[in-house]
Amino acid sequence: MSDASKVLLSGNEAVALGAFEAGVRVAAAYPGTPSTEILENLAAYPGVDCEWSSNEKVALDVAIGAAYAGRRALAVMKHVGLNVAADSLFYAAYTGLGGGGLVVAVADDPGMHSSQNEQDTRQYARFARVPLLEPADSAEARGYVEEAFRLGERFDTPVLLRLTTRIAHSRGPVRVEDPSPLGGRGRPAVRDPRPVPDPHHRSAREALAALANDPGKYVMIPGNARGRHPVVENRLARIAEWAETCSLNRVESGGGSLGVVSAGVAYQYAREVLDDASFLKLGVVWPLATGLLRAFAAGVDRLLVVEELDPFLEEALSLMGLKVEGKRYFPLAGELDPATVRRGAAQAGLLTSEGEPEAVPGLPPRPPVLCPGCGHRPVFYALRRLGAVVFGDIGCYTLGALPPLSALHTCGCMGAGLGNLQGALKALAGEEEGEMEGTRGRPVAVIGDSTFFHAGLPALANLAYNQGGGLVVILDNRTTAMTGHQDHPGTGRTLAGEPGPALDAASVARSLGVEQVTTLDPYDLEGFVAVARGYMTSGRPAVIVARHRCVLQARERRPAVTAVAEACNGCGVCLRLGCPPLVREGSVVRVEAALCTGCGVCAAVCPRSALLAEGAIPS
């Protein structure tokens, strides 16, 4: 029997729906997998002012400002984004919001599907003394947004809403009322904004006036902050009391003597594998309802925690003096899934192991690659030819690290490469002149355009100010490509689709004090090499803005490159580009025309003129 009132939403779409229904007025984010679609969806609802901020810290400050002004505000980021925004989370925890609501939705990426590390955001809740809610499916993701705002407004605190990849990017049924605010594919289709929830009956102007009269609460100079710290600690204790009877924590009694404490998607895996256990399913993951946990533990013979990443709950339960097992059986590193939980349960003697099917051996891998025609490819090819040591960054261009390009040598976090470059140059400065001939072995930094505006600006200012002598290549594809083509300060368009001033990376670099700045199209491989060689050996700071619009967005197509089999000697130089349409067939290379965008970079590198491109190199 069908149920027309149910729609399938991803966790991210569900959070957006929940935020709209909760009357959120301001939402800000920097894109980051797996969190990106929250703001993309929320922006389509009426009455919510949504922005792509230049980074997560700015996004959180924007949301805090709106909450200070008495409205409900949402900040969204991926787990590592919260590192960038951590300073702001901590001051907001001290000041509180004074009647406005602030929810920070953070999506962790266990398994690192699209991340540089596995971080457990639950640690930030304990660290910053703020409550954290964690939904276990799309329906909860939607409902927990309102719950989070109520909790935060009641106790005057920011609230973390933690998602993980398998919640954010899984679809499940969500019941919507009639008339539905959603149209086809779960997309927003509603005209009227939701009213502002306003328990204090204050305008934004009145809220700000109240803030201005309360410096002891909002001006975190030492004398005031000392007064706030006990408030924060006391608040957390009161929230823990509230959590004891909160309906978001629930006991599901099973028949057996085993009790499982779990939350989020780990709860779903455990519930599926250990079906007859009793469960304490936590929605309020921090602070913990210790009385509830003790009572649950007392009612079972064996207590197990199933949780992804850190032993967060397990440690807290151990500190309470409870006899509990967890990471002994379930891995700390990597993503959980039903098979992993089944394996752990078998190790714990709770199930008999059934043996698992083995992966099919000997299949060639299929790593992600830069797209055919991607403007990053010639840059990496050129940097490799120049023998540069390349400090990298976060984005599609990190794929330049993979063979055959193998031309990106570090990837740490947003903006890191520029500072790394400067430090490496300082270290090199002590070495004998002449040991480094030409460009070989010299460090270079590459950073994407969106990443440059995110975390590159202070680092480039530092490079110019401290007279670092290196080359920074800004890989400017006019978008935030990796996360699905979001706008940023350089694109001249906001999330709302409004035109804005497009910051020009070259002008910005000049005004930060870099004198050698060139903008070029990297399809002009030789042009790039010439400029890069000069800059790398100049001893002064330099920036190349390598600008070519993301091919996925531009969808530009020139006639495919033609391979002349008679001229090809199979040397394989073109294959070092790692471009998908170039296929070795017997002793020659052919071009898979359907995949080729005709960029002509392969024709430029072919020493035998066996690859012919039509008018691809811009003059």
Partner: protein, 199 residues
């Protein structure tokens, strides 16, 4: 209400996410609880894309489990082989007769598995294999992008699914999810495939 797990496996850009959405929508329409999961992000730059769709009375995990999946929808032969360990004995794989060589193969450093190796990977799981001319038929219809919907049409007519869910349920969901300009072509591809399978 029907209980079934599906794995859709292929390469970024093949329309796997849409096909998964259709499959999930059909399950919901047919009265099942449904969950669906896949990974976005780096996987889509020509990498492997795997979508899990689960129908059941009460679906807990959004991920299906290796060795327990009834239906594998292979959008590409190599990726079908890679996902074969998900199949349970008695399961069914419908696989697009289509090869997209990965970089190691195009560079001449690795060999693409032969059809009988792909078949062996699936059959060693105790599952049945049906090769589907989805790419060929999609090209004949004028757009390779409908190969995924052709595969779904084939799947819809296969085994217990054919009896469990009516053709019109599939078509309704399909029409709700495909952009209006592409509706006719997708409906045609679906119906042709289902007819070819059930003929």
């Amino acid at each position: 209400m029907m209980e079934a797990d599906f794995i859709l496996a292929g390469v970024g850009g093949q329309g796997i996410i849409l096909a998964g959405d259709i499959l999930a929508g059909v399950g919901l329409q047919a009265g099942s609880d449904v969950k669906k999961s896949e990974v976005h992000g780096m996987a889509q730059r020509g990498g492997v894309v795997t979508s899990h769709v689960r129908w059941g009375r009460r679906v807990r995990s959004p991920l299906a489990e290796p060795g327990r999946v009834g239906f594998l929808v292979g959008f590409e032969a190599l990726e079908a082989a890679r996902a074969a360990s998900y199949l349970r004995p008695g399961g069914l794989a419908v696989v697009n007769r289509y090869r997209l060589p990965p970089p190691a193969v195009t560079a001449g450093e690795a060999v693409y598995p032969a059809d009988d190796q792909v078949a062996a990977a699936i059959q060693s799981r105790g599952a049945a294999l049906e090769w589907v001319p989805a790419q060929e038929e999609a090209l004949r219809l004028g757009n390779p992008a409908v190969a995924g919907v052709y595969l779904l049409g084939w799947l819809s007519g296969a085994g217990v699914l054919g009896q469990a869910v009516a053709e019109e349920t599939w078509v309704d969901v399909l029409e709700g999810l495909v952009p209006p300009a592409h509706r006719d072509l997708n409906r045609l591809a679906f119906r042709q495939a289902r007819a070819a399978r059930t003929a």
